[in-house]
Structure formats: C-alpha cells, structure tokens
C-alpha cells in the first residue's frame, strides 16, 4: 500500500536534520496525518476531556471511539472507491446502492426470511449492482462517470419501489442480529469497528497478497500497456466495480440496521462525495494508477473528525460543509508540489525582506 513510507525510512541514516525534514515534507502521505493530528489537538484544547475513553454499559465510549464508529460506513465505501479510482474509474452509485440494500433488508425481514439470509441477500444485491456497473464500464466501455450515474439517479427510485412491494407505508423493522452487526459490541468494542478492521484486512489480503492489486493499478496507469502485457483489463475492471458495490452494500447494512428502517431518499446521501474526497486526501489520483487503502481510511477519519468537531464545538451545523471544504482544500494544497513550492518561495521572500 504505502510502500514509500516503509522503504525510505532505512535510507535516511546519514542526512542532516534539515534534509530529513525536507524529505518528510515532500511525502504526500504526511499531510493527512498532520491534518488529523491538528484537528484532534484543537479538540483537545477546546474541550478538555476530549480524549477520555470510558466504559458505559459494557461498551467503550468517548469522542475518539465516536469518530471511528461514525466514520465506519463511509470508510467501507471509500475503500471500494479507492480501488475503482485506482483503475482510472469512479463509482457515483455507492449511495444509491446503500439505499437499495436498505430497502431489500426491510422488505425481506417483513417477508419473514431468516435474518442471516437477509444479510446475504443484501450483500448479493450489492453484487448485482456491481455486475450492472461493471457491465456498463468494462464490457460496453461507457465512461465510468456516466455509467455509474445511471444507477446513482435510478437507485433511490428502485429503493422506493421495493418499499412499495409490501405496501411501503412503514418500512421499519426489528432485527437483533442485524442491529448487533451495526450498533452492538464484541467485548468492549463496537461490532462495526471490529468488522471494519476485518473487512480492511480481508480486502488488503485479497488485493495485495494476490496480484490483483498490481493488475488494478496497471489497468489504471496505462490501459493500452496493460492489454499488451496480457492483462485481461475487462475482468480486472469488472472486479473493481464488484468489490466497490459489495463494500457499499456492507455500508448499507450498517446504516440501515442503525436506524432499523429503510429510507431510500436520504440513506447514504452524498456518501460518494465523501468517499471520493477521502481517497483524494489519502493521496489517490483521479487519473488512476495507485491504490492506497490505509491512507484512504486516514482520509475518512480526517473528514469524520472534522464533522464531529464542528458538531461538538457548538458551531451551528450549517457551518459544517464550509469548514470541511476549507480543511480539505488545505490538505490538497499541501499535497500539491506546485502549491508547496509557491508557499516555500512566499516564506523565503518574507524572511529575506526582514
């Protein structure tokens, strides 16, 4: 994943402090961490006790846990988005997939299916959505932004139609099993965080312990060369959209079980934008070619920490989106070599003027 951080540490045995600092500054991977640390530090100063973690009702509680907890659905979506973006694609339909899966869950529980079967149905629904997106992008060769826009716009309608199958007036349900997956706990830790870690490790193993990750990046980096090197770019792209949709479906399970109701109009609304943002903050390029799973999670945490901060700081929630935009812009500027050079020159000039 973040190979640069592991391989270069050994190389800096000799250089001076200044050189080391310069090297560190040039690492794109540094800035999301700096942003996260800053946001958390500000919180620590503004509200003492921000980092406290208590045990309430047998479960860990506290702001830091809360950030992880609330960020989990977006993190799942963002991991899939990182893979799709790595292939030079994009998936705008993830929010709609969440809505469709939510509607499927409510419907099948009303229909009386065993709840573990409902879980499988929800995930299978996600895969079906992935099959559709993959078909449009990988087989028909439609541009990803347009291809996934189709499901993005129609998906919430499909969710409402599923609600109508059983009358649809009250699409809420009770499911101890699904709610345990979302809001329950394993030992002291919320289940969704444990599951998130498991999903992350499984995904990492799936694309990094096989050559799939390499092929995904190859297809994103240079499609023509990938074909000439014998990579079946259709299947590889297909895999990316399937994985992305499956992860979105899992996010759908968490979101739907949390509120134990299906709400196709607003569930997962704009999650695709947060997910794309997280990938970009994590250092991924929309031009494709690289997949940074761990850094994408850091990107999600930056976004979530910011949201939580604004909510706990007492600022009106209306400010949320604007503040978020400013911080994201700052991180992106620091990652851009051109912008860094400009800032460097600006400060150097200021110093020499004195």
């Amino acid at each position: 994943m973040t190979q640069e951080s592991t391989t270069t540490t050994a190389a800096v045995a000799g250089p001076s402090m200044g050189q080391r600092l310069r090297w560190l500054v040039a690492q794109r991977a540094l800035w999301p961490f700096v942003a996260l640390a800053l946001i958390l530090a500000i919180n620590g100063i503004v509200s003492p006790g921000f980092f406290n973690v208590r045990i309430v009702e047998g479960r860990l509680f506290g702001n830091v846990i809360d950030i992880l907890y609330r960020g989990m659905p977006t993190a799942m979506v963002a991991l899939g988005m990182a893979i799709v973006i790595g292939t030079r694609g994009i998936d705008l339909s993830v929010g709609a997939i969440i809505a469709i899966c939510g509607a499927m869950i409510a419907w099948r529980i009303q229909a009386g299916d065993p709840h573990w079967v409902v879980l499988l149905i929800a995930l299978a629904t996600g895969l079906l959505c992935g099959l559709w997106n993959g078909f449009l992008v990988a087989i028909l060769g439609i541009q990803p932004i347009i291809a996934t826009l189709i499901l993005m716009t129609s998906g919430r309608g499909i969710g409402l139609m599923i609600n109508l199958i059983y009358g649809g007036t009250n699409p809420s349900f009770e499911s101890p099993f699904l709610q345990w997956l979302s809001v329950g706990r394993i030992g002291l830790v919320p289940t969704r965080i444990v599951m998130g870690v498991i999903v992350f490790l499984a995904l990492w193993t799936f694309i990094r312990r096989t050559a799939l990750g390499l092929f995904l990046e190859a297809v994103g980096s240079n499609p023509a060369a990938a074909d000439l090197t014998g990579i079946n770019s259709r299947i590889v792209k297909y895999a990316a959209y399937l994985l992305c949709a499956l992860l979105a479906a899992w996010a759908g399970v968490i979101v739907t079980a949390d509120t134990h109701t299906s709400d196709p109009v607003s569930q997962g609304l704009f999650v695709e934008l947060d997910a794309i943002l997280a990938v970009v903050i994590g250092g991924g390029s929309l031009a494709g070619g690289r997949i940074y799973l761990a850094m994408t999670v850091v990107g999600v945490l930056v976004i979530q920490a910011l949201t939580t901060t604004i909510l706990t700081s007492g600022l009106p929630p209306e400010y949320n989106l604007v503040v978020k935009a400013c911080v994201v812009l700052a991180v992106l500027l620091l990652q851009s070599e051109n912008a860094r050079a400009a800032i460097w020159i600006f400060f150097a000039r200021g110093r020499s003027a004195k």
Binding site: T210, A211, L214, G230, S285
Partner: protein, 503 residues
C-alpha cells in the same frame, strides 16, 4: 517551375534546436508555384519541424523565409494563412459530430451583425467543396462520411480563395488505392491552378506518381534535392537511410550464415489485414533472428503486432509448433511464450506510476495469473538481476519508472519481456532513444539469448542494426513484404535495393 522563376516560398539556412537536440541544421528549401514538392525523410529527419517553421507554428533559431522573393516573418499559423499558406495535418483535425459546413468554416465563419451567418457559411462550404469536385450534403454530420471524404473535406477547409501554398502531411496514410487516385486527381487540378504543394508521404510509389521535385532530409540536414526524374529510387532510399557506422557491418561477417534445419516454431501463412499489411508468409526457427526492414510506414510495426496478436488478421493463419492458433491475443501470446516490446514505450509499454520492479515483473505475473503472486523475495531478486543485466540506471527498484530517462525506460520494457521467459521475442524499434553504450549492451544480450534458443523478430528503422543482428531479413515496402534475404546477401545495399524496388 524552372530555376529562373522566383520561388513562391524560399527557406534559407533554417536552423532550429529543441533543448540540446538540433532538429534542423542550415536547411534550404525552395517551393515553386504550380509544383508538387515531396519532402521525405525517416523519423526525426526534421520534416515536421520544417513544415512547422513554414506554417508559423514554430519559430526558427536562424535562417530566412522569403515569400515570392520578399523576406517575411511568419509568427503564427494565423499569420501563415494571411500569407496564403495552408496546412492539412496527418490526423484529420475535424470534429466528426459537427456538420460538414461547420467543419469547413469552423473558426472563420462568415459573420453578420456579430452573429454567424449560417446560410453564407453553407454557401461557402459548398463552393469550397465544388472546387475539389466534391458534391456532398454540407448539412450531414462529418462522421457519416468515409475517411477519404473527410480527408478531402480537410483540404477544402484549408483551401482559402487566396491559398497559394498547400502543405499535405501524409494525406494518403489512411486511404486505399482508389481513394488515393481521387485525391491525386484533385492535387493535379490544384497544381494546374498554380498552387504550390508540399507533399509528405512514406509511400515511394506515390511520391514518384505525383511529385515534380523531391527533397530529402536526414537527421536535420538537407541531404538531397532534385527534380523527380533525376532522383532514381535507389538514390532516394540511400539518401533517406544514409550510410554510416561501417564498423557495425564488420560485426555481421563474424556471425556468418547459420542454417536452421529443424522445423520452424512460428509460421505465418498468408497472414494479412486490410489497410494495415498485405498478406505475407514468414517462418521463424528457434535461435534465429529475423529482421523486418523497410521505411517508416512500410508495415514493420503492423507485421509485428499481427504476429503478437495485438491486431486481428483478416486473412491467413498463424502456426506455433505446427499447430494453427485460432484465438490470438497478447494474453494468449504471452502464455504461449511470445513476448513483445512495443515501439512507443510511453503510450503502449510502461506503467509510469508503477515502480521499476512492478514494471519488470508484470508480464511474468500475468503469465502466472493473478492468484499466484510472485513472492516478495522473487520479485526483489528478478528486479535486481534485470537491473544488473541490462545496466538500468536507477537508485533502487522502488522508483516510479516515469522518473527514469528514456533509454532506461526502454531497457525496463525489454527487461519485462525477457522476464516472462519467452521462446519468441518480438521487438519493435528496440534501440530507439538508447545511447551507444546501452545499444551495445542490448545487442550483446539479444545475441546471447539467441544462442540459448530464443527466436527473435526485430523491426527496426536502423538498417545497420538489422544488418548486424539478423540471420534473415524480410523487406517491406508500402505495407507489403517484397522479399527475403539470407546470410551473406544481407547488406545495406541489397536491402536498399529491395526497398527501392530496383531490379
């Protein structure tokens, strides 16, 4: 047309450098009214730079431009058009989703009260096309017409009422014989109207058919200019290809004539693809090196790609070890032990974002499939071995390949092909952009692999390279294989003779 008339365009002592590379070195070029002047040369000869200077796209470092005897400075393509110089570029610069009328008048629409007067635009498009003898519906979308018609529409667009110089950059590249004939009729007509025409083409037959005068550039220098009648094809081809590096030729005698008695491992029988390469036969034995020689655009790359399965043949069949191959694709080819190094490493060869190591192991990994990833140690060892064997200049294998120099990038492409353990290696321009030392490394390595039984197909524009390494040479002209030569017959002169079509 005679030397006494004032040239319409006269370029004197034109010099132009890009960074350290000298693209043009004191080149003179005269273009007379009512003549078709062919401008010839291989890749990097300086043709396009000369054209760009004439059309104002690039400014010359030194030299003088005269129009009808008067010195002028052409600052931009718009400026050139004011002077009556128009260009039709090789890639048709038109918009397929717009109507013919819009395409012909785009950017120069007739206006009325500041708004485009579409009726006048259509009228103008119709009259322009009529000048070329073309009567088509100007309201139809451009994309609905054939490439040949689109080419003519591009010419119609370039032809203003006051156009006096017309530059045609490879106008026939995507036309078939009939379409070319139509185009030439129009060119002759324009010539009769007194327009001076610069004709750039890789097809020698066409040059002899249409040109009144030929100018040859090589490595940025003017190497010859003469009326077509005084430029027999033998002389033309030797001017284009030059004769240098005699030392390499001696290398050839050391290898001598080798015969391959065993059955060929690859046989192409009547393999061909329309508009790409005429059906050809070719056989390749283990340990043998076959050179594909020919001018730019003669079908070298097309032949190589057909054999590797990049493009699908319309006719003929390909046999590997005597068995006919039905489904042929790059993926199948790599599995069957064929490797390919494409000519354009940036567009088709490399994954610039990925590391040197990842690039080198890619083909081997695709051969193994995605499930059995090479272990970390294997990847590390393979990368280290190849970096050492090919002397790839990189601080470590983790560097993104986009940060290497051109020659080293080329070596990475070669390394990737070699790592996939091929029995047959297809190289398209293997030494382009490589310095002399690296060139020798690559040739030596290829030689060694061949003694170990690797069969090699090398397409190259460097005749010396072909002569130095080949056991057999297939010569191509105008997208057709015109013959094969073996052993001691492989000399520069013989190849040039065959390319020129001399008896």
């Amino acid at each position: 047309m005679t030397e006494t008339t004032t040239p319409r365009v006269e370029l004197t002592g034109i010099t132009k450098s890009f960074a350290a590379m000298r693209a043009l070195d004191h080149v003179d070029f005269k273009l007379y009214p009512g003549e078709v002047h062919a401008l010839l040369g291989e890749n990097g000869a300086g043709k396009s730079t000369l054209i760009k200077i004439m059309t104002g796209a690039v400014a010359a470092d030194e030299g003088e431009v005269r129009l009808d005897g008067a010195p002028v400075v052409i600052r931009s393509p718009g400026d050139a058009r004011e002077h009556g110089i128009s260009t039709v570029y090789q890639e048709v610069n038109l918009v397929p989703t717009m109507s013919v009328a819009k395409n012909v008048t785009l950017g120069r629409e007739p206006r009325k009260f500041g708004l485009v007067n579409w009726r006048a635009a259509r009228e103008r498009a119709r009259s322009r096309l009529a000048r070329l003898g073309l009567d088509i519906n100007v309201d139809a979308l451009l994309g609905t017409y054939s490439v040949a018609i689109q080419q003519l529409i591009a010419i119609a667009r370039a032809l203003e009422d006051d156009t006096r110089v017309l530059v045609l950059d490879e106008p026939t590249a995507s036309l078939d014989a009939n379409e070319t004939k139509t185009l030439f009729d129009i060119v002759r007509d324009l010539k009769a109207q007194g327009i001076a025409i610069v004709f750039i083409s890789h097809f020698l037959d066409q040059v002899y058919e249409i040109a009144d005068r030929i100018t040859v550039l090589r490595n940025g220098k003017l190497v010859g200019t003469a009326p077509t009648a005084e430029m027999p094809s033998m002389r033309l081809v030797s001017l284009m290809l030059g004769r240098e590096l005699q030392s390499v030729e001696q290398h050839r005698t050391a290898t001598g004539t080798r015969t391959f008695a065993d059955a060929p491992i690859l046989v192409a029988a009547g393999l061909g693809r329309r508009r790409s390469i005429a059906p050809f036969d070719l056989s390749l034995h283990a340990g043998e090196v076959i050179g594909l020689a020919g001018l730019l655009g003669s079908g070298r790359t097309e032949t190589a790609k057909l054999i590797f399965g990049v493009s699908r043949p319309d006719t003929g069949e390909l046999k590997l070890d005597g068995v006919t191959v039905s489904v042929h694709s790059p993926r199948q080819s790599i599995r069957r032990g064929i490797a390919f190094c494409p000519e354009d490493r940036k567009a088709e060869g490399l994954f610039l974002d990925l590391t040197v190591r990842e690039n080198i192991m890619m083909a081997l990994q695709t051969k193994r499939g995605w499930l059995s990833q090479l272990t970390f140690d294997e990847r590390e060892r393979i990368a280290r071995e190849m970096i050492k064997a090919l002397a790839i200049a990189t601080p470590d294998a983790d560097k993104p390949v986009g940060q290497l120099s051109g020659g080293n990038q080329q070596k990475v492409v070669l390394a990737r092909a070699l790592v996939s353990q091929p029995r047959i290696l297809v190289l398209d321009e293997p030494t382009r952009g490589i310095d002399v030392g690296a060139h020798a490394d690559v040739v030596t390595l290829i030689r060694r692999l061949c003694t170990e039984g690797l069969a090699l197909l090398v397409a190259s524009s460097e005749l010396d390279e072909i002569v130095a390494v080949s056991d057999r040479v297939a010569v191509l002209r105008d997208r057709k294989k015109v013959g094969e030569i073996v052993g001691d017959e492989i000399t520069r002169d013989n190849i040039i003779q065959m390319i020129a079509g001399a008896p």
